[in-house]
Amino acid sequence: LSQVVMVPTGTANVASVSAAFARLGCNLTMAARPEDVSGAAGAVLPGVGAFGAAMARVDALGLGQALRDRIELGRPTLVVCVGMQLLCRQSEESPGAVGLNVLDITVARFEGAVRVPQLGWNRVEPGPGSRFLEPGWAYFANSYRLGRVPDGWLGATTEYGSRFVSALERGDVLACQFHPELSGMWGAALLRRWLETTKEAA
């Protein structure tokens, strides 16, 4: 059984993520309890909105530890946009809020002469050795970002005012600052590669 669950962190892109997976023949189910997250072949954290509010939803559902365990073990887990930022310790966006704290990084706002939020398509350039990531154009909708690829992770970077981390992967964990569900055929192919790992894990 290759069940893939979604952690409900808010409204804004749940329908788009669900539709993208449905086009790949995978119907996501909503996770309600920690065992839903720990027991699934794959888990998707489609965070949108503010860092603090998204983490508060994860905490209110009591799903933080189950997510952290999956990520530490490298089990198939996809985190999108603010979901990727939640891997970090904290964010300038929500002072005082603590994320999943897998990465000892503070997420910072874009700087320089660029329009914020970054809304639109930008180039994703993976570093060597990526399993999931390929060069291409992805759709971004973010005001905050990670500034460096953490040790032990493979990363892709993108230029917007300065270079920032547009994706990370480690084991079967894929973190995307962009929205793969809105990134056309390139995004669909990326989701398909990640989805394959949930079948191997099942």
Binding site: T11, A12, R23, G120, R123, Y139, A141
Partner: protein, 251 residues
């Protein structure tokens, strides 16, 4: 900076159908919003805007169903506007599959609505739609589909709305809309220098040259409708022309 300039087709929908006449080659049913949106995605559209021009509760219901159907086939962003009166309306559209929601008249009536939507769903999905009419000295906001002039200064309104949470401005020149005379470049320059969020230029496009001018004037994206619907050009041709002018586009 490598962020690409966006070409954004806009479909006016009413009772589940595209209105304003769509006449492409190769579509069996040119009035079906799902077929139109899919065709534009294939041509390289960077995003689709659906504008619900229904005025009735029944029409709103049809619009939600249209958003669901378009979402199921579309793998690029979808912005939906028209008839958003409260944050709950925005939530309903997002749940149906919109990625961004446009607010217009209701935000002019009650500006706090912009902040309410941004607080609940994020600035990145809160689009301020502004219809601007020239006054000779500047531009004033018009509402109710152009029927009512408000006397509110467009540049000041955009600055205020972005300060309370709007993450993008869909800026329509009421004077140019439907004329084919090109976007109002002075309007784009005035608003883009007053705010730091992206601007989608709208109203007046007839040629690829007009899109190039709008991007150079400070727009991050260009909305197109009639020239695509009439089959005079394609998204791919417009993007080729932008690239030929040295503007970065998604291939």
């Amino acid at each position: 900076m490598s962020l690409a300039a966006r070409v954004v087709p806009c479909l006016d929908i009413k009772d589940g159908r595209v209105v304003k006449g769509v006449r492409f080659q190769g579509l069996r049913d040119a009035g079906d919003p799902v077929a139109c949106a899919a065709l534009y995605e294939d041509q390289g559209a960077d995003e689709i805007v659906l504008l619900d021009v229904s005025a009735t509760p029944e029409g709103r219901g049809h619009a939600l169903e249209t958003v669901r159907r378009v979402r199921s086939v579309l793998s690029i962003p979808l912005t939906v506007g028209g008839g958003v009166r409260g944050a709950d309306d925005a939530g309903t559209l997002l749940e149906a599959g919109a990625d961004k929601v446009g607010v217009n008249t209701a935000a002019v009536t009650r500006p706090a609505l912009v902040g309410e939507i941004a607080d609940r769903f994020g600035a990145q999905c809160t689009v301020l739609a502004v219809d601007a009419a020239g006054t000779g000295r500047g531009w004033e906001v018009v509402v109710e589909s152009g029927r009512k002039r408000t006397g509110i200064d467009v540049v000041e309104w955009c600055a205020k709305a972005t300060a309370i949470g709007a993450g993008e401005i869909l800026l329509t020149s009421w004077d140019r809309d439907g004329t084919g005379d090109g976007y109002d470049l002075d309007l784009i320059e005035a608003v883009s220098s007053a705010v730091t969020v992206p601007i989608v230029a709208s109203g007046g496009a007839a040629t690829a040259r007009h899109l190039v001018e709008a991007i150079r004037a400070g727009a991050s994206a260009a909305l197109v409708a009639t020239i695509l619907h009439d089959g005079h050009t394609t998204v791919a041709e417009l993007k080729d022309a932008l690239a030929g002018a040295g503007i970065v586009v998604r291939p």
